[in-house]
Symmetry: C2
Subunit: 312 residues, 2 copies
């Protein structure tokens, strides 16, 4: 069995190759060619931790993948990362363990950011005078980094609750070649940006409906469980077109779930990324539409990123 | 992270210590002190394989366990074991991976056989003139071996479909100190034995109701999924008392599920092993009762055997 640590995994990470694999994965998912059993959850209250276990198999592949991914929110106080976890690959011919990827949660972070890149390829408007990033954490950084490949704009507005975190983000983004504006007013960000990514685990809406400009695209990454949302339901309802990674997951617990369950999306056609990729044309019909992508995360992304690491 | 291979795991295996841990686990399970998310299943038709992923956590423990266990039934033709798999332990304080146990399915086999030993402690009649083993495979062997600690009888009848397999089993059991009779007639086995273990993956009843003697105990291990059963539903209905590892699992897909769903068990009190262990007295009320134990396998057994291996 191959065992790879985080650095060995990052050395094998090829964003372009894995983006292609992720696209194949989204398409296979939307064509029901993927086995994805319901996610297992465990909770550890005293440690403020939780764990989810995902497994997946793309029909015809030579391997299947099991992922254990944990978040323990007292860890940083001990100098440990909150996100923990590993991924494993097993032979689909014999069941034997083939590889253990001790990625410490990085592969999940990376495949999420690359899904954001795919959403940008599908949805971004032609004219972007600034990118807006809501949040200052890991996903806020990885998304910006991977958007560089598909969006030429190098102006960024970032929203955060803490001055210190905003300042750290500014240094990060400047080093990556961006001109950076920071704000604690999400409406200000909305007024300046035509491509916005929301990356927080917030349980109350941050981005208001009123200030979003025509032609804006928003990718919502933070809501991955019941109760989490970053956008006002009126903003979700205001979107002209909505792209989702999974119809089932997004309507159950994604960013759009609240608006969906309130009946605000009755007139909307929700389209899965895999379906949109097959159509092979821009998702937006014109440059005035507001588009929204809701990413909840799919086990097939884990399968594909593991394949991408192991094939190198 | 500690990584143990099969031999290192077997070197640390202490049947008595782990039996005690399993008893604690069954009790905690019946007292709802265990998190056991629904099992994940994957299927691999071309390879005639399947995989199940179980995870579990006993409240208050310092670790939780994830098990990947696969059965690939074309493997033996390639010189590989059908059963594959591994178990992992993670910190319940930080989520960090702590141990990888490359047990190749052995820990599942052993915790199952030890559950049979616990059933024997609870249910065996005082007088046993012969032990009956239905099947000649791994569980048929491990059960007999671990019954030696709780049943003094050294006469065994074994039922199998193949003369060659019966002969191999005879040699195994003789080497373990048993006098062995083989048969291809399950009724003959039933007439001689007061303690019977059924260990086959059969989809049709092997053991008939008519020939079971008063005072007999039967432990049914084989049925762990819909469609599998080894006992005629009339035999299940004939049991005076029925012990189950899990009420939910056994009535859904265990040996007793068919009789249960046919309404034949309306008069029976089904008792979980954990509940019976708390009562701290023999499960049978007298030496004439026919008792039955249905074992479907619980994730808490995986948790406990991993703890038992890692504490040594």
């Amino acid at each position: 069995m191959i065992i790879l640590n985080k650095q060995q995994i990052l050395d094998k990470f090829d964003a372009d190759a894995i983006t292609l694999l992720l696209k194949e994965g989204f398409i296979a998912f939307s064509q029901q060619q993927v086995q994805l059993p319901p996610v297992q959850h465990l909770w550890f209250e005293p440690a403020n931790g939780d764990c989810c276990i995902k497994s997946g198999y793309l029909q015809g592949d030579s391997l299947f993948v099991v992922k254990v991914s944990a978040g323990f929110y007292h860890n940083p106080a001990q100098g440990l990362a909150s996100n923990q976890g590993l991924m494993m690959a097993f032979s689909a011919q014999t069941g034997e363990p083939q590889a253990l990827l001790l990625d410490e949660g990085w592969l999940t972070a990376l495949r999420t950011a690359l899904a954001g890149r795919i959403a940008a390829e599908l949805c971004a408007p032609q004219h972007i005078s600034a990118i807006g990033i809501v949040g200052t954490g890991m996903q806020a950084r990885l998304h910006l980094m991977h958007l560089k490949n598909v969006i030429s704009c190098r102006q960024v507005w970032v929203w955060g609750r803490s001055e210190a975190a905003l300042e750290e983000y500014r240094q990060y983004a400047q080093a990556a070649g961006f001109e950076v504006n920071t704000t604690q007013d999400a409406a200000e960000l909305a007024r300046h940006c035509q491509f916005i990514v929301t990356t927080t685990p917030s349980r109350e809406a941050i981005l208001p409906a009123a200030d979003i400009q025509p032609g804006t695209h928003i990718t919502a990454v933070g809501a991955d469980g019941t109760g989490k949302h970053e956008l006002a339901p009126e903003l979700v309802a205001k979107a002209d077109k909505i792209l989702v990674d999974s119809l089932a997951q997004c309507t159950e617990f994604g960013e759009i779930s609240l608006a969906f369950q309130q009946g605000l999306l009755a007139q909307h056609a929700l389209v899965e990324i895999g379906t949109a990729l097959l159509q092979n044309r821009p998702f937006r019909d014109n440059q005035q539409q507001i588009t929204l992508t809701d990413l909840t995360g799919l086990g097939i992304q884990d399968v594909q990123i593991v394949k991408g690491i192991l094939m190198r």
